[in-house]
Symmetry: C2
Subunit: 351 residues, 2 copies
Amino acid sequence: MTSTARDAKNDGIKIASLRDVARTAGVSVSTASRVLSGSSHPVSEPTRRRVLEAAERLGFEPNRLARALATARSRTIGVVVHDVSDPYYAEIVRGLEDAAGSRDHALFVSSSDRDVDKELAVMRAFVANQVDAIVLVASAIDDPRYLAEATAILDRFRALGGVVVTLSEHGYTAPRVGYGNREGTQLLVTHLLDLGHTRIGYITGPPYLMVTKARRSGYETAMTERGLRVDPELVIAGDFTIEGGARAAEKLMAANPTAIVAANDMMAIGAIRYLLDQGSRVPDEVSVAGFDDIEFAAYAAVPLTTVHVPLGELGQVGGRLVLDLLEGNPPEQWPRIDFQLVIRESTAPPR
Amino acid sequence: MTSTARDAKNDGIKIASLRDVARTAGVSVSTASRVLSGSSHPVSEPTRRRVLEAAERLGFEPNRLARALATARSRTIGVVVHDVSDPYYAEIVRGLEDAAGSRDHALFVSSSDRDVDKELAVMRAFVANQVDAIVLVASAIDDPRYLAEATAILDRFRALGGVVVTLSEHGYTAPRVGYGNREGTQLLVTHLLDLGHTRIGYITGPPYLMVTKARRSGYETAMTERGLRVDPELVIAGDFTIEGGARAAEKLMAANPTAIVAANDMMAIGAIRYLLDQGSRVPDEVSVAGFDDIEFAAYAAVPLTTVHVPLGELGQVGGRLVLDLLEGNPPEQWPRIDFQLVIRESTAPPR
DNA sequence: CTGTTAGCGCCTTCAG
DNA sequence: CTGAAGGCGCTAACAG
């Protein structure tokens, strides 16, 4: 008596398998497989038709797990983000999803909360689930243990044929879709400089994230390029959240900046809220700018001047890169995404 | 000569399989399996230790696909949303993720763009991927064909042992985590009524979505309860987007409302932006309110009065429901999530 | 307590 | 062009 787990799970109902199709079509399983899996192996027209009919009639759907086990390709991609509910990641994931979906791949998505162990666990889980590729959209945590362990996991994954792609600053070297974290920030700060500001405060991202350094260096470059020293009082660590931005702005105001640029829009939005609540006018009394241009940037209390990064596109390009790599078609060089300065109403000359 | 797809994929490097572990531990595969899969089948302490050691040394990671194939349980959940980049869904997905992750399940996430065929395709893909459960967080599309086909797919899925859970209004009957779409809206509108408004405009969600009806009925109930007729001029269809909210507000203003309530925060934010751009003051000249209380609601141009729905919690509760169901522990009754009226600065008495 | 034996559903040589 | 046979990695009776 054959008894399988499936029997226990369902109530005797079974989904049509390849064998069923083969049987009702009167052919061997191999033949059925060949026509139903889109193999290039030749199959006569009449036979093919019979198989197709049988499959149709039985409502056959190939079991992707079984197929994956047999082919060592799951058509599945693991996406590592810090937090899907953060618009930055949500928009990128959407782009990845579109690219993957259009080429018949499914997406696993997991948030790590920027926690070293959680992030490593997520990667291991993806590997265990036999994903074909891992996309690191989350910036690397700037920690030696993290990098060491991540490298071990990822190198091994790649040695086994897996593809790894990075969409942010990362210590792990892999194909990357880049965009100007540094240059964008520099452009933005220069805009403020051009408006006449000199006391420009900067709210960084979490200190332990690599992207934080990249963006901040843009601020520093812009300042020093104009012969301005970066006053340590004017640089304060944030955490990429709205609340964090508000808190940082509060501290920053002690140094009397005429403008505040935040390492992302969320914090800029928090900063604006704080200033407004304090009775300061934006941008009349202090200018505020962000980075990313998430959808809400344009609808903040004061429409935000920021650096537009086409997040959805970043995801799409990243997804396509992954798929191309999986198909053995590496591009000439890693793609880059263009950013763009978007001037809205939160910045103005100092008074 | 054995030759598998895997050989082609990697370069001869192979990941340790259960067989390898068994061999180096000097036991049978079954024994290795028993200790490594946490089976309840007894295994002697010394043997167990040897297996564990071998596994450790070889860096063994069970292949979840193989395990899934053998057990008919993939520990995988498919999540259907309309658009992950919409904060409403992003926050819910985050909650689902937390619940699933904490019990060792991975999440597939797909956006359907509210397109009937895309949504059906997504479900089929989930089934083909052998997910253990499907979570419909997206409200049903109010279309007979959609319902019919979705029912066919889902019923079959369930007959095979799959679990289906709904987090929104849906014509398909399945375990559901509910929250007061109707009651919440009613509460909100009543608040406006209490402030003295009588000409309250309402921007609905997309007409073809079931959730739209549910929320709107709350508006209608509140109005009629106070003896007010719902003026058709005062109800206009929106699409749940910021832009759509702005457009709807524009049209609505022709009917001279003193307050506008939108079926979600996104549209409310758009409405506020429109009004402000027109030079209307919010709430002095017209009050605006939303629904959901997404994170940005509090940071809109005018902090938004809205109905707070704990989206993350909704996801978590939904996730737990799924897992309990999968483990054969159905709750006494389907869980409900509490909403709450949040009064901020976008509503005030009519002038 | 341990090993042997059958699969799970599909793909892929290898013979014909 | 078709079929038989073996294997992907793991679990689950069934014997001992």
